[in-house]
């Protein structure tokens, strides 16, 4: 009976997804927004100060920090996935703009993963 193995595989994958969700779950409210482009840090801003930063010139993403949350509100990338991600505020939460090779990540705060402690660059 082939379907038994199919079912086993599906259950295994769903369990793996569950475990990964748990391991990568965001922690409590973070302290900083870390911005990296091509793996290099381009900015680090405290979450408790409102500000709007434009990252990049020709290829730009507008990062808005307001009321303890960060969001990419505007960008000229093709897919706008970064804008659709919405607000992030908890340690470990991430906004990614693949076309611009940009990673915006919340760091600091309690309950973060080892990755966030080390500054988010791994």
């Amino acid at each position: 009976m082939k379907h038994r193995y199919d079912l086993l595989l599906i259950l295994l994958l769903l369990a793996a997804a569950g475990v990964l969700f748990f391991l990568l779950r965001p922690g409590s409210a973070g302290q900083y927004v870390l911005v990296t482009a091509d793996g290099t840090e381009v900015g680090r801003y405290p979450l408790d100060e409102d500000r709007t930063v434009t990252i990049g010139e020709e290829d730009y993403n507008v990062l808005e920090i307001r009321d303890g949350a960060a969001a990419v509100t505007e960008a000229n990338c093709g897919d706008h996935t970064c804008v659709r991600t919405g607000k992030i505020r908890r340690s470990g939460e991430t906004i990614i703009c693949l076309p611009h090779h940009l990673v915006v990540k919340i760091i600091g705060g309690g309950g973060e993963t080892a990755d966030a402690v080390s500054g988010g660059i791994s």
Binding site: K2, H3, Y5, D6, L9, I10, L13, L14, A16, A17, G18, L20, F21, L24, T36, D38, G39, D79, T81, R84, T85, G86, G92, T94, I96, L98, P99, H101, L102, V103, K105, D115, G120, I121, S122
Partner: protein, 161 residues
């Protein structure tokens, strides 16, 4: 190679391209890049089960190249190639064990497609941050793989070609 084989192969390649195009035109509105149904895998599965491993490889690679050249860019070629190669490697391997049906093979293909793309994204971003998306992709890939696999099983059984 008979004219019949050539025609059959061309038909499937065209179909795979059209399905890629449909998914390109109608992306699922999610905040996670890479979430998709994977309609093209219907054609790859069909080729794998009905025409053999070699045909499936030719079809899949040809589709990736043609699609990237017509409506992709230099970057989308690598994403698409990594997804297609990893997924077909896994599907061929799983089919060989003889323990899985079309649906199981399709599910494994879907999640490995997502994995291939995440690996390329990690290389492009030079950061492991994209791994953050993988749990969601694992979930969506499994569900999409089941849907495509069930439909694929019907096609493999019923289509006279």
């Amino acid at each position: 190679m008979s004219a019949r084989t050539v025609a059959r192969f061309a038909l499937l390649t065209a179909l795979a391209m059209v399905l890629s195009w449909v998914e390109f035109l109608l992306p699922l509105p999610t905040a996670i890049p890479g979430v998709k149904l994977g309609l093209t895998n219907l054609v790859v599965l069909f080729a794998l089960y009905r025409l053999g491993t070699r045909s499936a490889w030719c079809l899949s690679l040809l589709r990736v190249l043609l699609v990237s050249f017509t409506f992709g860019n230099a970057f989308s070629l690598w994403y698409s190639l990594a997804g297609a190669v990893l997924s077909l490697l896994v599907m061929v391997g799983l089919k060989k064990t003889g323990k899985f049906s079309v649906t199981g093979v399709s599910v494994a293909g879907a999640v490995s497609h997502n994995l291939g793309q995440i690996l390329v994204a990690m290389a492009v971003l030079r950061s492991a941050a994209v791994a953050y998306y993988y749990p969601a992709l694992l979930l969506s890939g499994t569900v999409a793989g089941i849907c495509v696999g069930l439909a694929g099983a019907v096609l493999v059984r019923r289509i006279p070609l």
